[in-house]
Symmetry: none
Subunit: 235 residues, 2 copies
DNA sequence: CCTTCTATGTATAAGTG
DNA sequence: TCACTTATACATAGAAG
């Protein structure tokens, strides 16, 4: 999509260099619009649909690029709901409530007294903790940590890495040996069939057997290409 | 990503070699960026603040132009909250909850009767997920993962490790330079005192000064031995 | 409501202060 | 972090299908 647009705009730009190739298609000059309610219903709907997509895209990009947590809720004039959240809408709303409640000097009265809300709050507190731990393991949000904590974290991540690498290598080795075994079985079978075929040929019952070696080749290649170990690592 | 950016700046540098590409016009060529987390912290922060403003502006424009109701909640990676709503945030969130709850086709029987439980249950589900993710990052509970998932996990842990190591080394280096600075300050002070003492001695007012050099030695050794830097990590 | 097109307005990456 | 600059990438108004 964007590729295509880029290409076309490039084309346009190239054409601009040649005065005899353009100039005629001058129409629909885009106007600068004022930010106020669009009167025309259809125009408003069209704009809504276009800009809505734009806003959602921007929100997603922001969350991805800058590692932000974003919740976006949009109700159209007709009452239709559109929403997006980078993680869990609930969690974000909770977190938002937490923030605004904290800035509330007036004690939010009933919620603190109800036990359900308490456990709810506790759960969400645990969740926040877990989320932070998770982020730290991923190497984000490390500003608040001192040297000892960083060392501990490093060791933990290294330990985790060890386990993950072990598990991965195990899986790979098993997969490879499995495929080797299969291949050798098939080769054996092929050899047998070849022998049979030769025998049959000798006895006059010709059976086509020219494909057997190809078959073997295909199989062994197949087992190689289905595995990709060395990944080009780019951070 | 940094490598991508480095590559492109390299490209720019390459262009500089061509005399017909005016060196002045080659400066700050805006690059197309990929939508993935920005590595560089400052760049990420700058982009966050710019794009955040952009998104909020777009959201407001959409709500004005098309008469839509919009709530936007943004948490920065550092936990700072930014939000906007075209009318009342609470009201919009409520309305949103109404919609999403209505779209629950599967009657989760008890939860429908207890509204608190609904969100509670969802929260605890999220918690379970996070807990599992956490354990996997720590290298536990890896049995259910296939090869691709293991590779992805490995990359994630490696990335996290990189960041942790970077943060740790930063901290160490800062600490060291701080202590170096302190030491040199003290040495300077010591030297001054020594001079003073010698002067005093010359004028007959003898003041003991034999310890000053020991003092210096101790300080500089102390700053070195109290720190152990990790290995230069290269993946 | 969606897509597509063009011409243009706007957002923003990168640099600098 | 904020403010400004510049050049470019991207979004989108307007029209049509």
């Amino acid at each position: 999509m964007s590729c295509q647009r880029e290409f076309k705009s490039g084309e346009r730009d190239a054409l601009k260099g040649f005065p005899f190739c353009s100039e005629r298609t001058v129409k629909m000059v885009r106007q600068k619009i004022q930010i106020k309610k669009i009167d025309n219903l259809t125009a408003r709907q069209v704009t809504f649909s276009k800009r809505r997509r734009g806003v959602f895209k921007k929100a997603q990009e922001l969350s991805t690029l800058c590692d932000a947590e974003i919740a976006l809720i949009v109700f159209s004039a007709t009452g239709k709901l559109f929403h997006y959240s980078s993680s869990s809408m609930m969690q974000l709303i909770e977190r938002h409530r937490g923030h605004t409640e904290n800035s509330d000097k007036l004690g939010s009265q009933p919620s603190l007294q109800l036990p359900e809300n308490n456990s709810y709050g506790m759960l969400s507190k645990i969740l926040v903790d877990k989320t932070r731990e998770l982020r730290q393991l991923k190497g984000e949000d490390l500003h608040g940590l001192d040297m000892e904590e960083l060392i501990r974290l490093e060791k933990m991540v290294l330990g985790g890495l060890n386990h993950v690498v072990d598990a991965k290598n195990d899986k790979f080795l098993k997969e490879i040996s499995l495929r080797k075994k299969k291949a050798s079985e098939l080769m054996e079978e092929n050899a047998k069939l070849k022998l049979q075929a030769e025998k049959s040929e000798a006895t006059g019952n010709g059976i086509e057997q020219s494909n057997s070696s190809e078959c073997i080749t295909n199989i062994s290649h197949g087992s190689d290409t289905s595995l990709r170990l060395g990944l080009p690592f780019t951070y």
